[in-house]
Amino acid sequence: MAKEIVDAMAMQRALTRITYEIIEKNKGVTNLAIVGIKTRGVFIGQRIADRLQQLEGATIPVIPLDITHYRDDDAERAGEKSSFNVDIDNKRIILVDDVLFTGRTIRAALDAIMDNGRPAAVNLAVLVDRGHRELPIRADFVGKNIPTATSEKIRVNMKEFDGQDGIEIR
């Protein structure tokens, strides 16, 4: 049974806080680029970019990233590359995903980023950190830490894709 653990308002607030923390940590927004991991990471990245635009008047590129080819459990498609249409050399990248779990998705995303250039830095922003890492990866910006059992599922709903905002556990 699904249970909503973060409502729309708290989710908005978490995105707002992450945005402020990005400004704090990067001492501004110059030279930033956002890489959003498909699907919901792109929407979250876009919302962060919108907030930065409202606040600082700066347009931050949001690069959608499909990590399918970089997964370590899909030998058939390995080797294909994702190419960005934005130059990321010397950029400060904010890598965005909805849920941080084993860390394997992020590992794949880092490979994809490195295939496309040499950024000055990569920071990780996630809406939910649910624990159970299998790789030495941690997020720089976390909306909510949700301790979970491996058997549980965390689902992030986004208005753009799911019709409403909220985080559910089931």
Partner: protein, 368 residues
């Protein structure tokens, strides 16, 4: 049914510019002096009357009838009200409410505060808007003697020293360790922190660095309070500068003005103070509009923000004035309005959620 019999006594509200209003007495029969301010809130008169920001002030309500819900024991913003007088168009003769404990009339009598009714509060509000802040008095006779007394009266600029707690006290909880600096704290701030189960210690406004640091705070709240931020001692500004780099910091009302000054911004006095609870505020980062309660006589000068490490987070869309600030480099922010919603729209309490989330994030904790 609580029904009171009033004996009509004529009294007068006099202003320093010579204006005289005749009205009917209620509350205590005392003679009072104070700065006359008007409040446009439609509800929440108990919270307003007991808010310490009204220290040395006489409150006039523009809402025509005041007192219909009586006074209860849950809506006090201070143990003893700091207000000097209450001016209304009409005092409700009958008050009913399921949590009512006594009438407004009896409450004011209990605290020796005079009230005056049958005043054309809307005309007087227009008059105040034109003339600005005025000293006023509620008296038995509007004679030369009364005016001499009124004009000779000097209101203290040491409101904060007089109203801040003289000693530290605890408001315990089982959550984050939060220190509140009391510049004229209203209870709503403590109520909100209790909602988050914060373990709160309230310190006098004159607290030293060590007194704060020795409590190992996870977060620091700079409270609202009465008066001119320019009168606040430099030590308080130093404390803000020291702690904004160390822990999440949240300034409210006067605390917002102090946070701004501590970071190099300028604060000026409004020609007409804002006291009401339907002020539309825009959150810059989302462009969302919310309604908030204001009680402000000073404002942060927007032009002075440029050369500071602050940026504007909230704006009052009626006059484009700053209602919220945030530090660029540290998790420190402030709001000019009253985020405790006592009284006021509940949406403004988001600021407390935001603060507590910052506190928990720094603790590595798991709440949103």
């Amino acid at each position: 049914m609580p029904n009171e019999i009033y004996v009509m006594t004529t009294r007068y509200l006099i202003l320093q510019d010579g204006t005289v209003y005749e009205g009917e007495a209620f509350g205590a029969p005392a003679t009072t002096f104070g700065e006359l301010v008007f409040n446009t809130a439609m509800t929440g008169y108990q919270e307003i009357i007991t808010n310490p920001i009204y220290y040395n002030q006489i409150i006039m309500f523009t809402t025509p009838t005041i007192g219909a819900a009586g006074i209860n024991h849950y809506a006090d913003e201070a143990i003893v009200p700091a207000v000097k007088g209450v001016v209304v168009r009409e005092i409700a003769e009958i008050s009913t409410n399921r949590i009512r404990a006594l009438s407004l009339n009896d409450y004011l009598k209990r605290h020796n505060i005079p009230g005056i009714s049958q005043i054309d509060t809307r005309a007087l509000t227009r008059h105040l808007r034109e003339t600005g802040v005025q000293k006023a008095s509620i008296v038995d006779q509007p004679d030369d003697h009364a005016f001499d007394q009124l004009r000779a009266m000097v209101l203290t600029n040491q409101q904060i020293a007089q109203i801040s707690t003289p000693k530290a006290y605890a408001n315990p909880g089982r959550g984050a360790n939060v220190v509140v600096l009391d510049f004229g704290l209203k209870s709503g701030i403590l109520r909100m922190l209790s909602d988050f189960d914060a373990n709160v210690t309230v310190l006098p406004f004159s607290a030293t660095f060590d007194e704060v640091a020795n409590l190992d705070p996870d977060g620091l709240v700079i409270s609202s309070g009465p008066g001119d931020p320019a009168q606040v001692p430099e030590t308080a500004l130093d404390l803000i500068r020291e702690f904004e780099t160390r822990v999440p910091l949240f300034g409210i009302g006067l605390g917002h003005e102090l946070f701004a000054i501590a970071n190099g911004a300028k604060v000026s006095e409004l020609t007409s103070a804002h006291h009401g609870m339907n002020h539309p505020i825009r959150e810059q980062i989302t462009k969302d509009i919310m309604f908030a309660t204001q009680g402000q006589a000073y404002y942060v000068d927007a032009k002075s923000i440029k050369d500071t490490p602050l940026f504007v987070t909230h704006i009052d869309i009626t006059d484009n004035q700053i209602q919220g600030l945030r530090h660029r480099d540290y998790p420190a922010f402030s709001v000019q309005f009253f985020p405790d919603a006592a009284p006021g729209p509940l949406e403004e309490t988001q600021a407390f959620a935001e603060f507590m989330e910052m506190v928990m994030a720094r603790r590595g904790g798991g709440t949103i």
